[in-house]
Subunit: 341 residues, 4 copies
């Protein structure tokens, strides 16, 4: 059966699986101290034009968010996020487990605006009782957002200026970053992220890797002893070379970018075709996700032939579903999918 | 160069790497809800003769210890461990990060005795101030221990009786469990563990897997909503099938056991030969680790040709080192190693 | 200067101060194990008609909320509260510091409705991703609310039925409980609270005591070793008799109730008079707090003669202020206040 | 019955009780923002010759330790303490509840030596695995110690030098500080503490106050937003003036010091007399506590006439007990006590 339910259904991109398989019996130094991991980190620093950046390989998206937030916040600080942010709703309280409140702001197409963040902070400091409240200490956003939309360079710079004004750190969750980098509309490079963020993640799991996220901290003085913090979080992989091998393959050439481009191109084709056929797309995504409102009967029939994701109920008789492409989606898959509409 | 430094230097056993590589492009349901993971869990339940057990796949040793301890303890309880226990010294405070104190007891050959635990608890409850202290809530031990020694069935049963008397949960860290199961002296089966423990782990990372530990909870009512707790800890793997594929391969037949047997047999050969050659072995390990006291000059020369682990300084002129075999160590490797002595 | 800014400006009711002063040199057993504390607890059990209840004396409102929530929730659970709830906004993240998320629901006059809680829980369990989210584990409400409004007996019973349906604990923050008990409209007795709640607090600090809140847990099996948890929270008072002496005085006769009645009667007089004079009261409080919208110039003039609390800006030219009476407010004070309008 | 069981049996010194009683109906600004609290803080700064110090009034000993340690440590750091330290054994895991490991070192007469701390740190940084371990981040000690012994100025300076060498903060728990300041042998002033410590507490609860500890942070930049952290810990007293009134009375003149001197003088008399009578005192205390080894039968008879504290069993037939004097002990009490021996 066709499966467009998500971008993390398949173990991994063949080049990454091969990198591991070829080295199946090679002996590496443990905990990421091996030479391949060092090389992979160097490649990422170069791609980000951030020669001093700390680069840390972690295992999954919630883990990297939880760790970065714990490492960058002080105990009396919380993190500002869109009410739709992954950390707000879908991480089972991982941030609160670390002791920090998620301070939610209404989103616009999944995005936070610099104005909304500034307004939040202004109101906070104007409140005579603010020392009885959680201080805003960070802005969390994701690129692309939960809704598949993109921040543009000027938007990030405006957010950075607000962060500077109110002593906030800026963290970007890049769980699906390849699909932002690969989007036609995108104008935010890795180097841009490194220049505006205090930390950001480069997602592997949803972008071709078996697992793994790279946490980039352009100024590593912000996160002293992060290796130990990672260990303390239960997040240190004994065989760290498994992460090094994968990120080395992703960043040796342009693989990471090309994975994104390919998936977005196919998603765009699906989007255009469905628009042409008159289907309603409630969210204007620009990346590898398509959101579609369908009558419930049509959805039921469709699900006999393709797996898609439930997103939310639109009304009594309609449902919003999500369709995702990934690095392995083929033109044939897309043709077969579109033939069902 | 020869490398006997640890049992987690190589990415993984060929059969496990193949299981992943063959399925590189297969689409699986996420978060361990796929059919292969279900089958792997069923195999583990069967191997443990624990048909109702909760089986949860996690990523690493510290993570599984931290999670099990958090899930099984109440806020006012701590965990009793040998002062040499991994959680006492080498997990960067992961247990305290979860809010629990590690209550240490001196070890005997790396082991806790039932008498020592009973004495601790008796003294605790006899202390008029004990409600101002951390209640013992669990016994943590590892099989094999940090020193490569083994608990025998009667020792575990005696510990269980003490646990019952003082309302303690019993948790066994099986990071290297294959090497216990594969030891000639061992009389503790997986089913024995399931019958005496409230929870235990079956280590993959150090026993042939790329990564992964199976947490077994014979009575799952003890750990409600553990899936959500795992997510909250940042410990949920999106592509859970990667763990399912590996544990399915390990437990489809006798692979897990045979990995242990083979490594222990070679370790025993090394141990015997070195003993015959008159080398001092300060710790009487029975599993895949050999501990050896060497004059510092000899060690320095040795390290030009083989990588071994520093364990501790014995005295001003001598050092204890650790030699470990694993699933991939060959007779040739062993011969080459022994030729150096 | 007149001061109607809050109900915690004065050290304490004369009878309570006297109870301490008279015993200034008496020697008591420590940590609340003394006879006076035992007698005070017995009086509270009797007043609540809860003969088996656990009664624990704590020091302040945030502390008792944080402790009760930590003690009653499991790690994967959060607490449902009105978005205006004290724990949501004004406790500096004390609940998240304990690892729990506050799950907010919009309020009606400061209150949560049973329907809103039921709808939240129904949506939660209907969500296919709910195991990736924080489970609702408790309903938090305050009696009276932040807005000075009251829950009625039938409303609490309806909330209890929802709690039973969804396995939620019900906790009532009674920081100002005397003023609820003393309100003309109130139909909720201490015994009613003990019959519907899993835990509730009886506030001392804002109701005549120097400091102190009594936490009542009708079924103490819900909170094992709570004494130790209190110690672990840094919340155990060495000289516990100071709390015992005060609660003994409050509950020896009807002092607690009469304190509330007196303050509410004067507040009602202020409310009625200001209404008669045409002042706008945006919140319909029934207890010891009056909320008043004033033109900014009038407020500025007023503040030369009486201290009131800023509540919020109503619009560009108007401000909402809070006026509070307490156990020490006199008819003369009220006359002097009303003469200013 | 005579009661020498501890120094926290009586509500409080008459001058402090009077300070509160006289102001029973005075209206104060809340949360310690009142003028009396400000004055009390100024007096403490002056007594410590630390004009810029942050001074924060808290409620109890465990609370102030937990708060100071949380505020001064980073997540990957633990606190070095004597194995007999209060935080090690008798705070119910309050430090671990805040996420930090207590790193214990054997004591000498209840004291840590600079050499022992230096040796711990040297061994830590020499350990090749130290990044997998909890970093030492602070030295905790108490003045006087649990055993009633004293640190001398040169000892504290030596500890400070070790702290500087290894980037440790130095925190002194002064729960019984008045009895150190009042000891004949003492050469450590408040100003000395302010010059060597990153933070220290001035205990009220055991030194004449009803309750209350002053936390002094000579360089307040070390603890940003500590007011909010206090609130988050549930440790902020609404009626902060109650603490201000007491510390104002203690530090307006020499009351704090004289309370200590008087109690120590009587304790010294008891010590000398018992020594002369041939009683064994296993711990050489210099402050307000006397430790005495008694045959069990004699102890049983004694306890019919005076309350003393159980300390520990010495051997099968002997017990160590503690006798404590306080600000209210009279010469008559002492004569009556000594008549029993």
């Amino acid at each position: 059966m066709l499966d467009f339910s998500s971008d993390y259904t398949r173990p991994g991109h063949p080049l990454l699986v091969d990198a591991i398989a070829k080295n199946q019996g090679t002996q590496f130094l443990p905990y990421g101290t091996d030479a391949v991991s060092s090389r992979a980190k160097a490649r990422i620093r170069e791609a980000c034009r951030a020669p001093k950046a700390g680069v840390h390989f972690l295992l999954g998206g919630t883990q990297v968010n939880q760790l970065a937030i714990d490492a960058l916040l002080r105990s009396f600080e919380g993190v500002i996020a869109a009410d739709t942010g992954h950390i707000s709703a879908h991480e089972a309280g991982a941030i609160e487990h670390g002791g920090h409140k998620v301070l939610t702001i209404p989103h616009k197409n999944g995005k936070l605006t610099a104005d909304a963040v500034a307004a939040y902070c202004e109101a906070f400091y104007a409140d005579g009782n603010h020392t009885h409240m959680v201080f805003p200490g960070m802005v969390y956003l994701s690129q692309p957002t939960e809704y598949g939309t993109l921040y543009f360079r000027e938007e990030l710079r405006a957010l950075r200026r607000v962060c500077d004004r109110y002593s906030l750190r800026l963290y970007v969750d890049g769980a699906r970053l390849a699909y932002a980098l690969g989007a036609a509309e995108n104008d935010v490079s890795l180097a841009d992220l490194a220049s505006v963020c205090d930390a950001f993640s480069i997602g592997g799991t949803k972008c071709g890797a078996l697992f793994g996220e790279a946490l980039v901290v352009p100024d590593p003085a912000l996160t002293p002893q992060l290796f130990t913090v990672i260990k303390q979080h239960g997040a240190l992989l004994a065989k760290g070379a498994l992460l090094g091998l994968q990120f080395d393959a992703l960043f040796a050439g342009a693989l990471y970018l090309s994975i994104g481009k390919r998936a977005v191109a196919l998603a765009s084709l699906i989007r255009r075709t469905l628009t042409d056929k008159g289907y309603r797309q409630p969210l204007v995504s620009e990346t590898n996700q398509i959101f579609l409102t369908l009558p419930d009967e049509q959805l039921e029939a469709l699900q006999q032939q393709v797996r898609v994701s439930f997103w939310e109920k639109a009304d009594a008789g309609h449902t919003v579903v999500r369709i995702a492409t990934d690095w392995a989606t083929t033109q044939d898959d897309v043709d077969a999918l579109l033939a069902l509409f």
